[in-house]
């Protein structure tokens, strides 16, 4: 059952067409669930530059809910997903989260796509003792200052992503130049890369901070060129990343250096085209091509394609699935929605939703998981529209690529 399915509580839904199909499937007649419906709030930016990612997240999250409901729900209770548009705005997200908690009386929240929105939701849920599974990248949320015992971070964090990407791209003696967005997320990625760089014996030939949200990077290019790096590491996200890569290629930087980014996005690559991204290497939480080696990925792809007329799931979309999946699995183990029991179950959980084994680390509730390192394919090498990346490596789930608990400020 989804938010579109019932009436008063579910007014603000996602796109009707998007959810109507699953809603009909999810309500077989006469299967009356015992007890109160389990309601999961799902704030995501349906409007704004990441609307495509958000819609993928909604589809994936609905799939996770449907799979559970098809099996009869959790302890006989149906699960309902309440999708809300956070507009990629932290204030809006906080308001929607308050509504979900106060008015819709949700049992847990899953979602958020930007660091700021995630921290806002975290702040609201922490004060009200509501479980929150965060699916947006950030190092901040792991640190003790923002830690909430009710919050679980299912997404990768910049530290682990950069560690994995560096491990497979930086070499002894590599000269690395950094172009970094001047805000928390950019700084976190730079910090991660530089730590890995020191361990791998690479050197930095220069770092340039660029203003967050810049459209033109041409003025940074002469200096980057003059640094003569082997690797140009572009630490930004979304549109910033797309523009920076495109303009670096325009300036011929890709002939001189390998372009490396912390995170490669499926939809961003679609929006910019294969030429600019050709040969660019970056990390990812998920890529559908994982199905060749991982059975759970195959199962997820198949179910997703079946529910969405053959469309492939994307990286940020998959977070919607893994995030909701892990929460529902824990609720099942806890036999319901009792907050303390669900927290205990999440802390003890071992799960394989779509990308191999994962578990939440006890101290900071970070999901320990594999990190993919992808390379963007040439147009000629693409077998179909969705065949965007080559999987260079899958860095296995390990606490080694995380910052230690004591480093994050947690008592030993």
């Amino acid at each position: 059952m989804t938010s579109q399915g019932s009436h008063s509580i579910t007014r603000r839904g996602a796109l009707a067409g998007l959810t109507a199909g699953t809603a009909a499937l999810a309500m077989p007649a006469l299967v009356r669930a015992q007890g109160e419906t389990i309601r999961i709030g799902f704030p995501t930016p349906l409007t704004g530059p990441f609307a495509a990612e958000a819609k993928d997240q909604v589809k994936s999250a609905e799939l996770a809910v449907k799979l559970v409901n098809d099996k009869g729900g959790i302890a006989g209770r149906k699960v309902e997903l309440l999708v809300r548009d956070d507009k990629l705005n932290a204030g809006e997200a906080a308001t929607r989260t308050l509504e979900l908690i106060e008015k819709d009386k949700v049992h847990a929240i899953v979602g958020a796509l930007s660091s700021a929105v995630q921290l806002a939701v975290n702040e609201v849920t922490r004060a009200r003792s509501v479980i929150y599974v965060s699916i947006s990248q950030s190092d901040t949320i792991n640190e003790v200052k923002d830690f909430s015992r009710f919050t679980f971070h299912e997404a990768l964090n910049p530290h682990m992503t950069t560690a994995a990407v560096a491990k497979h791209t930086f070499k002894q003696g590599s000269k690395v130049a950094y172009l970094v967005a001047d805000y928390a997320y950019g700084h976190e990625m730079l910090r991660g890369f530089k730590r890995a760089q020191a361990a791998l014996g690479a050197t930095s030939v220069g770092e340039i901070l660029h203003p967050f949200g810049a459209a033109d990077y041409s003025t940074f290019m002469p200096r980057l060129r003059s640094m003569r790096p082997d690797i140009l590491c572009i630490c930004n996200f979304g549109r910033d990343q797309a523009n920076a890569i495109k303009q670096a290629v325009d300036f011929g930087m890709n002939r001189q250096s390998k372009i490396v980014v912390p995170v490669l996005l499926h939809n961003q690559r679609l929006a910019i085209g294969p030429e600019a991204f050709e040969g660019v290497i970056g990390g990812a939480n998920y890529y559908w091509g994982l199905e060749e080696t991982i059975p759970s990925a195959k199962a997820f792809n198949d179910a997703f394609k079946a529910a969405n007329s053959g469309a492939y799931p994307t990286d940020y979309g998959a977070y919607g699935f893994t995030g909701v999946y892990s929460l529902l699995l824990a609720m099942e183990k806890a036999g319901g929605t009792d907050t303390d029991k669900v927290i205990a179950a999440l802390e003890a959980l071992k799960y394989d939703a779509a990308k191999g084994p994962q578990h939440y680390r006890k101290c900071d509730h970070q999901s320990v998981q594999s990190v993919l390192v992808l390379e963007s394919k040439k147009k000629a090498e693409m077998k179909n529209e969705a065949d965007l990346f080559k999987v260079l490596a899958s860095e296995p789930a390990s606490e080694e690529i995380l910052r230690s608990c004591s480093e994050l400020g947690f008592p030993a």
Binding site: L15, D85, L98, E102, N122, A184
Partner: protein
């Protein structure tokens, strides 16, 4: 009529000569608005939305003092709204200041910023005034983005949740949405009283005169720049109060609060409701937020509807919802 006066801002006639129902409405406007605010949480779909209407209604009321009554189109009021919110959040989160003092501090900081930006921008007129306020408020935005050790930068300010309010020995559960609403409403009501007070005062007559005809007001012996600066600062103070309420309500301060798009939203709300009328801004904030809420029910493209409605208002109903109602009632 002086060129800097917006015909939208000049939508409402002065107050001194009002008769009958109109005069009674003016006399009772503060109690009436407080009554409406008391009922609000029970009429809207959620308490969080009610607090939003309260906060944005208050920002629009503050903005209206400058735009609707003084005739100055500022595009930088997000700066004062945001400054109030940040100052309150930082005071509570980083210095452990008691909540009530933090509210006062937020108002003071926002008001001080308004005074400084006012001082710099008042010298320019018309379009240039709008541009200077826009430029200076964007400077504030970028400063907040850079000063991330204070403001949290792009991640927003966090870590100052007020869970309980202690007032004269009482302890109020501030996480309870209804109690929270009524506590915040007390501040909004005080601000409404203040605005009504200003509009009823001799100074209220002065700013209306400036809106109507700046040249004439100056020839009459009014120090126009000084009066504008006072109006600008008072307007900023009220927006700052709205900011502190927003901070207490959400327990975060998003960086977007300072962006010029927020200023634009404040302008839109004020205009939708009716610039230069007392109830207009609240009606506008309510209409805007409800429209967003209702339209996003059936399409994620709510902006096209909001934008179109706004264009139609500028073209055909420049007096806004409330102003048009009043004019219609007055039989013009």
């Amino acid at each position: 009529m002086s060129a800097s006066t917006s015909s939208i801002a000049a939508g409402m006639p002065g107050q001194a000569g009002q008769r009958g129902w109109r005069a009674r409405l003016v006399a009772w406007r503060v109690p009436l608005s407080i009554l409406a605010l008391c009922l609000l949480p029970w009429l809207l779909p959620s308490k969080a939305l009610a607090v939003n209407v309260l906060v944005y209604g208050l920002v629009a009321v503050g903005y209206n003092l400058l735009f609707g009554y003084t005739g100055l189109l500022s595009f930088g009021h997000a700066a004062f709204f945001g400054a109030g919110a940040y100052a309150t959040g930082i005071a509570i989160g980083q210095f452990g200041v008691p909540w009530f003092a933090a509210v006062l501090l937020g108002i003071a900081v926002g008001g001080a910023l308004a005074f400084v930006i006012g001082l710099l921008s008042i010298r320019t007129r018309g379009i240039y005034f709008s541009m200077v306020t826009l430029a200076l408020s964007q400077l504030v935005y970028y400063t907040a983005l850079q000063a991330s050790s204070w403001t949290g930068g792009e991640n927003g300010l966090r870590g100052f949740t007020v869970a309980k309010l202690d007032i004269f020995g009482w302890s109020i559960d501030f996480l309870d949405p209804v109690k929270k609403y009524y506590v915040l409403m007390v501040f909004a009501a005080a601000a409404l009283w203040l605005v009504s007070r200003i509009l009823n005062s001799p100074f209220g007559a002065v700013i209306e005169a400036i809106r109507e005809n700046e040249t004439r007001a100056r020839a009459c012996g009014y120090d126009v720049e000084r009066s504008k600066l006072i109006s600008f600062t008072l307007s900023g103070l009220i927006c700052a109060l709205a900011g502190t309420l927003s901070a207490l309500h959400l327990a975060i301060v998003p960086l977007d609060i300072l962006h010029y798009q927020t200023s634009g939203m404040i302008v839109m709300m004020t205009l939708l409701g009716g610039a230069g009328s007392f109830f207009g801004p609240f009606v506008g904030a309510l209409a805007f937020l409800l429209m967003e809420d209702v339209v996003s029910l059936w399409t994620s493209h709510w902006q096209i509807v909001v934008g179109t409605v706004f264009i139609l208002f500028v073209l055909f109903l420049p007096k806004g919802v409330w102003g048009t109602l009043l004019a219609w009632r007055a039989g013009r």
